[in-house]
């Protein structure tokens, strides 16, 4: 049983560009949350998707958007990249909205903005 998978593992972009990160949740999970983890910091909650809709959002600008597909996989899109967007982007899945006990994290996508 594959856990949470993310692609790509690493990515280099330049300022102003746009990026799309992908996440496949653990089998049986239907809720996906995205986090940004800056170097030496804890993960910061970006948003959560359930039933293909954004259900909750952290304190991130509209440049950060997402999507969830019918198969529960998800994408994180970041527009107009800034140097400060360089971070590890983590996806976490859980079996159903509100099931706090079983939020599993993927290995992350490391984004570097030059």
């Amino acid at each position: 049983d594959a856990g949470v998978t993310q692609s790509p593992t690493h990515l280099i972009k330049t300022r102003g560009q746009q990026v799309t990160l992908r996440c496949s949740p653990k089998s049986g999970h239907d809720t996906v949350s995205w986090y940004q983890q800056a170097l030496g910091q804890g993960p910061q909650f970006i948003f959560q998707y359930y039933e293909e809709e954004e259900r909750q959002r952290g304190n991130f600008p509209d440049r950060f958007s997402g999507h969830q597909f019918p198969n529960y996989s998800s994408e994180l899109n970041v527009n107009a990249l800034l140097l400060g967007d360089s971070a590890l982007y983590l996806c976490a899945s859980s079996p159903l909205r509100g099931a706090q006990e079983t939020q599993y994290f993927g290995p992350g996508t490391r984004l570097l903005v030059l």
């Binding site: 910091q41 804890g42 859980s94 909205r97 706090q100 939020q103 992350g108």
Partner: protein, 111 residues
Amino acid sequence: QQQVKQSPQSLIVQKGGISIINCAYENTAFDYFPWYQQFPGKGPALLIAIRPDVSEKKEGRFTISFNKSAKQFSLHIMDSQPGDSATYFCAASNPNNDMRFGAGTRLTVKP
């Protein structure tokens, strides 16, 4: 939006010693308090978690102590081993699974 404050930033203990990491939260809507362990290049992995209706939870060498009135909780690692060397994050979540993390504690266990 530092809703969960974690200390210390780094911790060095000898093999066999006790590692203690502390966290404090602000939002009383939080009702689930997990601890995550993260190794370099990996995503966080759930270690142990507690709900506010209990004051302590123990799983093997790992114990969470919870003080609801003080809005504080801590992780104790007994008989610390070099393999425990990692970054530990406390977190707090509301019923909608909106999870907020502490800044992390880098634990080094010296052999």
